[in-house]
């Protein structure tokens, strides 16, 4: 039962990262792809109708995590107190940037201001999310009760008294930043025309090299920081398909990008994100929040909720998700096609 819910949470998290990932990514490359006011308005319009739905995946994942693994929710959220509250503030700022920009469409100071807020919040969010994942992989100083609290940073090392930020978690943040920037550019390339389309493609083309670089670097770093992550791969060799798929998706992205097939390149970067996360999750299982002292680690077994709650949720959850996917299909179909510069809503 806990295995099923572990996979469901992982699935929802992957959905969140792929979906909100592209609109966060669009924010990261906002100034590169949109060179003037009208173009930046077009960037916002590509994500306008969908970003809110994408963000719902975060809330829905949070909700499922809450009832399926309450102890994990309690421990992780209180332990990451400061960065999480800052994430909340960034989410507020970013949403304001997206939705308030077009309220005074013809006021240049107003739109410039919200462009900046939107882009800055997107950049910081990507780095925060990556650093959060880095913390989970590195492990946190859980006490015997399963709680912890980390300062923002200490000595930047991955052992002893760790902080939220150290060289490894910052590296994870950079990986997330580059990966989402490329993913968002793929999305923008798919949704825009002419010059914006070409510029977005170019960001992918250049960003791709950076992405390959930081990906390799981060995989090496993971093996140094948490060598036990490979145990599951040795135990279940089919898992090696995941790193293969990471490599394949990177190659495919380059290929499709060069050929100008933006949709396929976007799907490739989606697969890349899914496989990177999947690889981490596969290696961690059954840990959900490793402790620096392994005896205190939180696992799916010691954080899960009661049997009845988990089984009854298996009845309503699929229904809800299938209906939600229905809305998604309808929404994306209604707003399909490219966004034109200078068009009104």
């Amino acid at each position: 039962m806990e295995l099923i819910w572990f996979m469901i949470v992982a699935f929802m998290l992957v959905c969140y990262v792929i979906l909100d990932g592209f609109d966060i990514g669009a924010g990261i490359v906002h100034y590169f792809v949109g060179r003037n006011d009208a173009e930046r308005a077009a960037v916002i319009r590509t994500i306008g109708p969908v970003w809110d739905g994408n963000e719902v995946w975060l809330l829905a994942t949070g909700g499922v995590l809450y009832f399926a693994f309450p102890m994990l929710y309690a421990s992780a959220f209180s332990g990451f107190y400061l960065p999480l509250i800052m994430v909340l503030w960034l989410l507020i700022m970013r949403a304001a940037g997206i939705e308030l920009r077009h309220q005074l469409e013809h006021n240049h100071m107003w739109t410039s201001f919200w462009d900046f807020v939107f882009s800055l919040a997107s950049i910081l969010l990507a780095i925060f999310f990556g650093a959060a994942l880095g913390n989970v992989i590195r492990g946190v100083p859980l006490n015997s009760e399963g709680y912890f609290f980390e300062p923002l940073f200490t000595h930047w090392g991955t052992t002893g008294e760790t902080g939220i930020l150290d060289w490894f978690t910052v590296l994870s943040g950079v990986v997330a930043f580059v990966a989402l920037a490329v993913h968002g550019s793929n999305y923008l390339a798919m949704k825009t025309e002419d010059e914006m389309n070409l510029r977005a493609r170019k960001v992918v083309g250049v960003g791709w090299y950076a992405l390959v670089g930081v990906t390799v670097l981060s995989l090496l770093a993971v093996m140094y920081v948490r060598p036990t992550l490979l145990d599951n791969y040795y135990a279940l060799p089919i898992g090696w398909l995941i790193p293969l798929a990471v490599a394949a998706s990177l190659a495919a992205m380059k290929y499709f990008n060069a050929k100008g097939q933006d949709r396929s390149a976007f799907i490739s970067s989606g697969v890349y994100l899914a496989m990177m996360l999947g690889g981490a999750v596969f290696g961690l299982f059954p840990l959900v929040l490793p402790a620096l002292d392994p005896a205190n680690s939180l696992t799916v077994y010691n954080t899960r909720a009661g049997d009845y709650g988990l089984s009854v949720a298996l009845l309503w959850w699929p229904i809800g998700i299938i209906i939600a996917l229905g809305y998604y299909t309808f929404l994306f179909r209604t707003f399909k096609g490219k966004v034109k510069v200078g068009e009104e809503h």
Binding site: G63, F67, S78, Y308, G320, A324, L331
Partner: protein, 450 residues
Amino acid sequence: MESLTLDRLQFAFTVTYHYLFPQLTMGLAPLIVIFKSLAIWKRDEMWNEAARFWGKIFGITFLFGVVTGIPMEFQFGTNWAVFSKYAGGVIGQTLAMEGTFAFFLESSFIGLFLFGEKRLGQALHWLSAFLIFVGTWLSGWFIIATNAWMQHPVGYEVAADGSVHLTSFWSLVLNEWAVYQYMHNMGGALVTGSFAVAALGAFYILSKQQVEFGKMFVKAGVIAGCVASIWMLFPSGDWQGKMVAKHQPVTLAAMEGLFDTTEGAPLVLIGQPDMEKKRLDNAIHIPSALSFITYQRWDAKVKGLNEFPEDQHPDNIPLLYYSFHIMVGLGTIFIAIMVIAAIWLWRGWLFESNWLLWILMLLFPFPFIANTVGWMTAELGRQPWLVYGLFRTEEGASHMVSSGNVMFTLLGFFGMYTVLSLLYIFLMLRRIEHGAEELTAAAAPVGGEN
């Protein structure tokens, strides 16, 4: 300040602020559906324009509700970790269902409703409006069900590790407390929504900016507001009160400032709880009325606070008492004004009665106050429990988060929400001003045809 106090303050502040927005969106959503239906049914472009106009106000308000709502779910984990570990297996269910069944629905169709009218056509546009209404009201249901479980826990068992496990899904989702609380709460949202529509209509008439639409708004707002205001007292308020009397008698005593157990207990209109002398100072009351409305007998015995051990008393009785009395007082005033406005509307005097239009216009902040103090009554009344009778508030806060950190984030929320308030007010004023121009442009060709 110790960290428990700050955790409580932060949750109270963020949730109070958050709920200013959903009460308006949940109240406006059914009205927009009605406008849209009238537009299609009567083939009247004026109502369509009204739906679009209020749709835009809905859209901005919805955004503020979304962004201030996300911190609510997170704070269960960040500030109330011990409580989350204890009860997450139960209340996490309703919160996750809210995300899955309500948020996906709302977030998908809000974009379609606001930006998709041309692409969708009228029938599907109506459907979008309707589904947003369903989504917002479903969302309300799951939150009320979550709160209802904390007010009146059902369908659970205490597991070996001390946490609670769910044992009955339907008891949780269809908690008796939730049913009555929902009816009362959604009525409250409708009061806020309809009063806002009436107020803006009155403003448009009085300022002579947009008289035609002003009249439509006042008419719709007054009719809906009259029904909703009465509904808040009877039957929904009455039902809610009986639930409190049945399951939280000590809360009822505190709400009424009743210290001694009394047969034929009076209903207090005005008075001040004196916590030192344990009595109500300078009370003005209706004899025996509390006994009657609670138990339908004039001489029924109502238990006073002294009947209960002090460690079960709500920890801030005066604030609870005042919150409740302000809610009831405002509710009574709402009924009086709306009944008069409805009669004036029926007789055809309303649009010429500037004094009444002024009152309708200036009334719009008060439903926000009434809803807020209503929730304060519910939440202060639940104290000293986080989960009524099971789990005390003082046990629930995160141990590992220091008070300095909570102080920092609380101040951060103050600052952030001050900025949000300024933005919201700015955008609303702008919308009201530009709205009049857009409505004028929309009204011109229609007027020409008639």
